[in-house]
Chain length 372, copies 4
Amino acid sequence: MTEKPKLSIGLIGSGFMGKAHVFGFATAQKVFDLPMEIELHTLADITDAAAARAAHDFGFAHATSNWREMLDNPEIDVIDITAPNALHKEMAMAAIAAGKHVYCEKPLAPSALDAAEMAEAAEQAGLKTQVGFNYLCNPMMRLAKEMIEAGELGEIRSYRGLHAEDYMANAKDPFTFRHDPAGGGALADLGSHALATAEYLLGPIREVIGDCVTAISQRPDGKGGQKAIKVDDIGRAFLRFANGASGSIEGNWIATGRKMQHDFEVHGSKGGLVFTGERLNELHFYSVEDAPGRRGFRKIEAAPDHPPYGNFCVAPGHQIGFNDLKAIEVAGYVNAIARQGKEPFSFRDGLRIQTLVEQIQKSSATNAWISV
Amino acid sequence: MTEKPKLSIGLIGSGFMGKAHVFGFATAQKVFDLPMEIELHTLADITDAAAARAAHDFGFAHATSNWREMLDNPEIDVIDITAPNALHKEMAMAAIAAGKHVYCEKPLAPSALDAAEMAEAAEQAGLKTQVGFNYLCNPMMRLAKEMIEAGELGEIRSYRGLHAEDYMANAKDPFTFRHDPAGGGALADLGSHALATAEYLLGPIREVIGDCVTAISQRPDGKGGQKAIKVDDIGRAFLRFANGASGSIEGNWIATGRKMQHDFEVHGSKGGLVFTGERLNELHFYSVEDAPGRRGFRKIEAAPDHPPYGNFCVAPGHQIGFNDLKAIEVAGYVNAIARQGKEPFSFRDGLRIQTLVEQIQKSSATNAWISV
Amino acid sequence: MTEKPKLSIGLIGSGFMGKAHVFGFATAQKVFDLPMEIELHTLADITDAAAARAAHDFGFAHATSNWREMLDNPEIDVIDITAPNALHKEMAMAAIAAGKHVYCEKPLAPSALDAAEMAEAAEQAGLKTQVGFNYLCNPMMRLAKEMIEAGELGEIRSYRGLHAEDYMANAKDPFTFRHDPAGGGALADLGSHALATAEYLLGPIREVIGDCVTAISQRPDGKGGQKAIKVDDIGRAFLRFANGASGSIEGNWIATGRKMQHDFEVHGSKGGLVFTGERLNELHFYSVEDAPGRRGFRKIEAAPDHPPYGNFCVAPGHQIGFNDLKAIEVAGYVNAIARQGKEPFSFRDGLRIQTLVEQIQKSSATNAWISV
Amino acid sequence: MTEKPKLSIGLIGSGFMGKAHVFGFATAQKVFDLPMEIELHTLADITDAAAARAAHDFGFAHATSNWREMLDNPEIDVIDITAPNALHKEMAMAAIAAGKHVYCEKPLAPSALDAAEMAEAAEQAGLKTQVGFNYLCNPMMRLAKEMIEAGELGEIRSYRGLHAEDYMANAKDPFTFRHDPAGGGALADLGSHALATAEYLLGPIREVIGDCVTAISQRPDGKGGQKAIKVDDIGRAFLRFANGASGSIEGNWIATGRKMQHDFEVHGSKGGLVFTGERLNELHFYSVEDAPGRRGFRKIEAAPDHPPYGNFCVAPGHQIGFNDLKAIEVAGYVNAIARQGKEPFSFRDGLRIQTLVEQIQKSSATNAWISV
C-alpha cells in the first residue's frame, strides 16, 4: 500500500457553499478511491475568530483572516473560493499567479471578459480549475448524455430546459447582491444551470435569442426605502444547437411552488428523455423501438448500472442526494489534478456559460439572434 | 313538462371529428338538461352511399351528397362543418348567408383574413358560431381560470404553455394537408391550443415574438419522390400579457413519446398551478398560504365540486374523458344559441387564435416583437 | 344496409346508476358497431310522475310506476335493474321467469345463496345476465390481462389489490342502507371490485383468510340518536390463487383522501405491472428483458393499440372516462345477447364475487383459511 | 472553544454496511454539531492484510485481525458490528461485557430470545446500543410522526405498510445466508423495516396474524445441485395497533421492478399521508380542512422546515440521499451516548421488531391472531 500524494486545500469562506465543499471533500474521500489524499490545510475567513471556529468545525489544521497568506504557503495546492462573488476574480487571479489550482463557486465572474481573463491565466499556467456546476455530476445526467451520444434517441431534434425556483418570489424580501446588475439576475443565477445542462447533453449552442423580464420592479433597500430592480426575474431563450436541434431554456427565481425545477426534455427521431431535478434519481426514457402497445416513458431509477452511483450504494433505488453530487464534482476535480481526465467544469466551461448568459441578455435587449 | 324547442343539425363530414361531434351531441343531450332538444337532421358526405351509411350509423334522419341542399332547408338550424380545412370558409360563408348557426372544426380558416370575414359575417347576421377548442371545456381548466380570477394565486407573473405530441415524428410518414403552407404546421395545429389556453387563463396577449422551426425538411410525396416541407414542426413564442405577466408557449408535433402534452404552469405572487393534458382530471395547486412545512403542490382530482364534472358523475375521482369535453363544448354552444351565455369558443375567438399564430409566424421571420 | 335487430330496454330506477346506464346505452350505440340496435322502451319508477319525467329526460318511449307491467310486454327484451339493492332479487327472478335478459347493478344480491338462485334460474332459462363491474371494462385492464396470459410477466408470484375511497370517512354522516348487515360493508361494496379485478387478471382464487374491521362503531340514525354499525369499514384478505401465486386485497371506504384507489400490482418472474384507478388511462410495466441500465416501469398510455380505446378516439393519450367504461360494458352485454361472446360479468360471475366476499367475512370471524 | 470529548470507534467488518457506517461517521461529523468528536480508532477484519487495507482506506488509525483485542483497549468506546449476522450476538455480548457501547447492523440476532439477552445485558450495564434502522431517520418520516402525534390527521384508523424489492426475484440466483431459516426470509429482512416504520408512526402493535409464503421453492446450492428454500419470499400481516387502528404490512423480496418500495399510507378522521421510499424526499398529505374543491394530496418536499434536513442543505428541494439517513442515525446515537436523548433505535427496539417478526411467522403457521 503506497501512500497517495497529498492534495492540500486552502478554503476561503465558511458559509453555505463553504460547508457544501467541505462535505464534498469528506464524502469524496470516503466514497471514491481517489488518486490523491485530500488534506484540509487552512481555512480563511474575515476575522481570526471566525476562521478559527470554522477551521475547527470543518476539520482544517490552520486558520487565517488573511487569505493572501495561503498563496505563499508551498504546502497548499488548491485555493477553494466560496467568498462573495465580487471577490472571485481578484482571489482567483492571485491564486493562479501563485501557481495554485483554483476551485471557485459559481458565478465565476461578473462578466465574460473577466471570466476569459481567469480561464486564460489558469491555462497558461497549466493549472486545473473548477467551477461548481454540480447538477452535471448527477449519474442520471451522465446516463442521459451517454444515451444521446450512443444514438439511443436517434437524431436529436428538440430540447426544453428549465431551472426554476421561488426564493425570490416574495416581493417584500429585500434587495441583495443577487440583484446587482453586475452578474445578477435569474438568468445568470439559475438559467446558467439550464444552459450548462443543455450544452452538456446536446453539445454547443450556436445561436440564441433571449427574453429577460423583471417582474418585481422594486424591493426594500433595507433602510426603509425601495430600490429599483434592474436584473431579470425570468430569463428565457430560444436556442440553435450545432447538431441541428432547436430548443429553449428558462431561468426563473419567482416560480412560486418550485424548489428545484432543474428539468429537461429531449426529443430525437427514435426516443425521448424527461428529467426533473425534483426527483434527481430518476430518468424517464421513451423508445420507439419498444414493441407497439408497450411503449411508454420508463422511470429508470438510479442504480449501480449508472456510475458513479455504485460508489455511494451497492443497491439500486436507494437514492443519492445533493451533497453527493458535490462529492462527485470534487472527485472529478481531484482526478483532473492527478492528470486522470478533464475537470468536470473548468474556468473555460464557466466562461462559456457566462458568455451564453451575456449574449442572451444582449439579444433580449436588441431582439436579434446572436451567434455564440 | 313543456316540450323543448328543437335544434336541428346538418353535419358535413363523417370522419374522426364528425364522429366526435356526434358523440358530443349524444352525450350532451343525456348529461345536461339542455334548453333545446338536439335533432340529428341531415348528414352530408361526398357520395350518396357514404352519406346514407354514415347517416344511418350516426342516427341522422336524412342524407345527402350535396351539402348545399341543407342551406335551403328551413328545418335545419345549425350547419356543422367537419369537412377538410380547405372547405371551411366556403361552407361557413354559405351557411351564414342562409341564416344558419355554424359549428366549425378547427382550424377555422387558413388565414386570419379569412377568419375575420367569417366572424364578421356571422356577427352581422346575429348567428351563433363555434370552433372546436375542446380542451378549454375541461372542468379543471375552468377551475384554474376561476382560481386565477379569484386571486387565489395573487398577482400573475409568469406562464409556460405547451402542446406537444409526436404524430409527425416519423420522417418517413408522407406529406399531408397538414404540411400545406396555407394554414399548416405545428404552431397552427397544436400551438393554437396552447395559445387558446394561455388567453383563456390569463386574458389577452399583447405582444409576441416567435421561433418557428422545420426539423424534418422533406417527406415522401406519396409518388416515390420527396417533397420539401415549408411549415414548422416546432413553433415557439415568448409572450407578454395585458395583465403584466410574461410567458412562453410551444407547439410541437415531433415530440417523441408525447401523446397529449397540453401542459401549463402559472406562477403568481401567492401560488402556482400545474396541469398536464396527459392527466386531464388533475390540477396541481401550490399556495403560500398553507402552513410553513406543510406546503406543496396539491393534486386536486376532478370532482362534483368542479362543474360540470358532476353532470357526468356524482362521485369524485371517477374521471371524465376526451369525448366528454366535446359534450361540454356542445352544451355550451346549445346554451349560447338559446341565449343563455356566450359561445365557449366563437368564430371571433377562432380569429383571435389565427391572428396570434400568424403574428408569431411573422415575428419568427422578422425577429421582432409584434403587438397583437 | 340491413336493419339490425332491436334490443329493447326496460329500465327500473332513475338515480345515479340508472343515469349511468342510460349514458352507457347512448355512448355504446354511437361508439361501437353493435350487432343490435338498442331501444329505450320503458322506464319504471316509483310514481307515474317521476317515471314520466325520467322517461322524457332519458329518452324512453314509455313510463310506468309498475315495473311488473314491463314483464308482460313482449316488446321488451332486457330488464335493467338499478333499483335499491334489497329489490334486486325479486325483480331479477320475476324478469327471468318472464323470459327477459337481466342487467343488474351490483351488488347482485345480499347473499351468495340468493345470487346462486338468480344465476341458476337465468342459465336454465338460457338468458343473458350482466352485473355492473365496469372497472374490468377498462382497456388497460384488458391489456394487463393479455400481457399476463401471454407470459410477458413470466410466472406470476405475488399480487396486491385495493379499492379504497373515503365517502364513509366522516363519522357524522348517518347510517344508510350500505351499513345494513345484509350485504353491506366496505368489503362487499368496494372490496368486491378488488376481488373481481384479482380474478380477472390472475384467474381463480383458491383460499382466503380475512380481516374485517369496523372502525366507526356508531353513526347518527337520522332521528337524533346513534345506531351501532355492524358492517366492516375495512375488509382485508390474504389470497391463494390456483396458479400458485399469493396475494392480498383491501376494500376501504374510510381512506381519507382517496377517491378512486382501485389499484393493483402484480409481480412475475419476468416483469411487474402497476395500475391505479386514479389514472385509469395508464398501465405501468417493468420488464427484466429490457437492457440493463435501461429498465424501469414504463407508463403505457391508453391508445388505439389497446382495444377498444380506438372506438372512442383514434388518437393516443386523449383519455377515456368512467362513463366510457360503462359503454364498453353495455357493448359487451349486447354482443353476448347477440351470441357473440360471453357476457363481461354475468350473474355467475356476480355470484362468484359474492361467495368470495362471504367467505372472507366468515374467515375473518373464524381466523381460518377457507377454500373458495 | 472547548475540546469535545472523544468517541472512539472500533469497527468490525468492512463490507457494504461497514462502508456505509464509515460514510455515516464522516458525514455526521461534518453536518451536525455533535457533542462528541468521533475518532476512527481500529478496524477489525478477517486477516491482517484485509484489516490494514480497509483501515487505511476508511481512515482508521489501527487495524487488527482479532476483534477481541479491541475489547481490552480502554481507548475504544464503541464496538460497531457489521460482521455476518451469525456473529452479531457473540460479538455484542463480549463488547457489552467489556463495557463498550454497541452499534450493530440489523438483524440484531437470529431470534428474539437472543435479542432479549443482548438488550438486557446492555441495559444492565448502562450502555448505549443502536441497530441500523436508518429509514426511520428520514426527515419526512419524522414529519409524518409529528403530524400524526399533533393530531393533524385526527383519529388514526387505518394503515398500509410495505417494504418490497426484487433482489431475490431471479430463481437462478443461489442460496445465501439470507435464506437460512435462522433469521432469514423476506419478512425478517424487509418486513422488519415495514414493522419498524409502522410502530414508529402509530405506536405499539397489539395483535398480528401473518401470511408467510415461499414462492421460489429451491435455489442453486452453488455446488451444481438445488437446495430447498424454507424461508418466506413474501411475508404479510394484518395488524391491530394499541391506538385502535388496524392495518397491514408486507415484506417482499421478489417484487419484480421494485428497488425501494418502502411505502406507507395512513388514514385518519381528518387526513391522510402517503409516502414511498422510491422518493424519499417527499411526503404527500391530504387534509379535510382544506377548502372544498381545493383538497388534494400535497407533495411536501423535504426542506429546512423538516429537521434535520437543514443540516445538510439550507435550500429546500435539493434532496438528501440514503447515506445521509445513515449520518442522521449516527448523530442520534452519538447524542444518546452523550446523554442527550434516547437512541434512534436501541437493542430494545431491535428486540421488539424481532419479536413482531417471530410472532407473525408463528401466527402464519397457526392461523391465529397473536398478541405481541
